[in-house]
C-alpha cells in the first residue's frame, strides 16, 4: 500500500476476526518499523511484548480481563503490551558518541565526543535521568513515535489495530515477567478486521487551519486545494463517516459476537 493510503486508511478497529490468528512475521514487521522510529539520544525508550490470545491458558486470560476490557481481549487474537523503559538514559553517552563516529552527529552541527563526555552527559542527560517527570515525559513522547510506526506497519499489512488503555497492570506484570523499570503505556490490539477496513468512514478531523500555522500563530495554515485534491486521490483523505450502512454493520457484528447493542 502506498504511504498516503496507509495513513488515510488507518482506523481504530474494534471488531476483529477472532478466529484468524496474526502471522508472527507481520508482528515482526511492526516491531521492526517501531525499531526504525526516530528517537533522541538514539535511546531505546520502549519495550513491547506480543502475546497471542490463544497461547494463554484460561486462568491467565481471565486474570487479564476486567469489566472494561473483556470484549476487546476476546476479539483481538494478538495483544502487544507497550512500555516505557525508564532506564532508557543508561548508555546514552556511548550511543551518542557512536553517532558522532557515524557522522550522523557531525561537527558541522556542533557535535563532538568531547561535548558528549564533558558537557551533554554530566550537565544535561544524567540530571534528566534523575528527574522522573522528565524521564516519563520524554519516554512517553518517544514511545508514541515508535508505536505510530507500528500502527502504520499493521495497516500496511492488512491488519486492524486499536490502542487500548493499559489496565490490570498489577496482574499482567507478574504474568509476563515485566521488570520494575517498565512503565505501561498502551495495550495494542491486533488482528484482521471483522468490520470493513474503512470502519464506517474516515473519522472527523478539524481543518488544518485550526491546528497548523504558517510563520506565526496569527496565520492559520491556508490549504492548497491542489494538494488536498492530490491527497484525496491518493487515499490520505477519504470519504468521511459514517457510511450509510455503518450502524447496521455495527449491529450485525454485535449480534455475531453476542455483544451489547
Amino acid at each position: 500500500m502506498e504511504f498516503n493510503r496507509v495513513v488515510g486508511t488507518r482506523r481504530s478497529i474494534r471488531f476483529f476476526k477472532s478466529w484468524r490468528p496474526v502471522e508472527r512475521s507481520k508482528i515482526q514487521v511492526m516491531f521492526e518499523a517501531a525499531n526504525r522510529a526516530s528517537r533522541s539520544m538514539n535511546a531505546d525508550y520502549f519495550r513491547a511484548i506480543a502475546v497471542n490470545r490463544d497461547d494463554l491458558d484460561a486462568e491467565t486470560r481471565d486474570a487479564l480481563r476486567n469489566p472494561t476490557t473483556t470484549a476487546d481481549l476476546d476479539l483481538a487474537p494478538t495483544y502487544i503490551f507497550w512500555y516505557i523503559d525508564l532506564d532508557y538514559v543508561a548508555g546514552a553517552q556511548d550511543r551518542l558518541k557512536e553517532l558522532v563516529d557515524q557522522h550522523a552527529l557531525p561537527a558541522a552541527h556542533g557535535w563532538s565526543k568531547a561535548y558528549v563526555d564533558d558537557f551533554l552527559w554530566p550537565q544535561v542527560l544524567e540530571p534528566i535521568s534523575k528527574d522522573l517527570n522528565a524521564v516519563i515525559f520524554m519516554g512517553a513522547v518517544e514511545t508514541g513515535i515508535a508505536i505510530c510506526n507500528a500502527i502504520n506497519a499493521a495497516v500496511d499489512q492488512g491488519l486492524g489495530t486499536c490502542m487500548h488503555a493499559f489496565t490490570a497492570n498489577d496482574k499482567i506484570k507478574p504474568l509476563l515477567g515485566v521488570p520494575d523499570t517498565w512503565l505501561p503505556v498502551w495495550l495494542q490490539l491486533v488482528g484482521y478486521p471483522a468490520e470493513e477496513p474503512e470502519a464506517g468512514g474516515q473519522r472527523p478531523r478539524r481543518p488544518l487551519s485550526t491546528l497548523f500555522f504558517e510563520g506565526s500563530c496569527d496565520h492559520p495554515w491556508d490549504e492548497d486545494p491542489d494538494v488536498t485534491e492530490q491527497l484525496t486521490r491518493e487515499g490520505m483523505i477519504q470519504e468521511p463517516g459514517p457510511f450509510p450502512y455503518r450502524a447496521q454493520e455495527v449491529r450485525m457484528l454485535s449480534r455475531m459476537y453476542g455483544l451489547p447493542e
Binding site: 477472532s18 478466529w19 469489566p67 473483556t70 470484549a71 476476546d74 450502524a247 453476542g258 455483544l259 447493542e261
Partner: protein, 138 residues
C-alpha cells in the same frame, strides 16, 4: 426521543413476569424510570418486540437482585471528594458479576449466557456505565 418506538407505559411495563409489582399495591419502579427510558431511547435499532423482551429480562434481573433499574445504575456510581459523580469500579464489578451469575442461574451457558448477560449490560452501558461483557467467539 431518538428513533425509538412509542415506548410509553406499554414498553416499560411489558407482559408481566412473576415477581412484578403489578397488582401488589406497590408502585412499579419501571414506570417512569429515567434509566429505563434512557436505555430504550438510545439502544440503537432494536425492534419494539426485542426491546420489550429486554425490559422483561431486566425486570427479572432486578427482581433477582431485589433492586430497581435506577438503583441498579446508582450502585455503579459513587461520589467523589469534590462532589462529582464517578463510576464505581467496585460497584461496576459487582454488577458485572451479578449479571454473569444471573445468566448461570437461568441455566444458560456458552453463547446463550453471553448474549443474555450482554442484553443486561446494555442497560448499564446506555446509562453511562462503561462496561464490556464477553464476546461469543466459539
Amino acid at each position: 426521543m431518538t428513533g425509538a418506538p412509542d415506548v410509553g407505559h406499554d414498553a416499560t411495563t411489558p407482559p408481566q413476569p412473576a415477581g412484578a409489582a403489578e397488582g401488589s399495591g406497590r408502585a412499579d419502579p419501571f414506570d417512569g424510570s429515567p434509566a429505563v427510558r434512557r436505555w430504550l431511547d438510545q439502544a440503537g435499532d432494536r425492534g419494539t418486540a426485542e426491546r420489550m423482551g429486554d425490559v422483561t429480562l431486566l425486570r427479572r434481573f432486578c427482581a433477582a437482585e431485589q433492586t430497581t433499574p435506577d438503583e441498579l445504575v446508582a450502585r455503579c456510581l459513587r461520589s467523589t471528594k469534590s462532589g462529582d459523580t464517578a463510576i464505581s469500579a467496585a460497584g461496576r464489578r459487582a454488577a458485572d458479576q451479578a449479571i454473569t451469575a444471573f445468566a448461570a442461574a437461568e441455566g444458560l451457558s456458552g453463547r446463550e449466557a453471553i448474549v443474555l448477560g450482554n442484553r443486561l449490560r446494555s442497560f448499564l452501558i446506555h446509562n453511562g456505565i462503561f462496561l464490556q461483557g464477553p464476546a461469543s467467539i466459539l
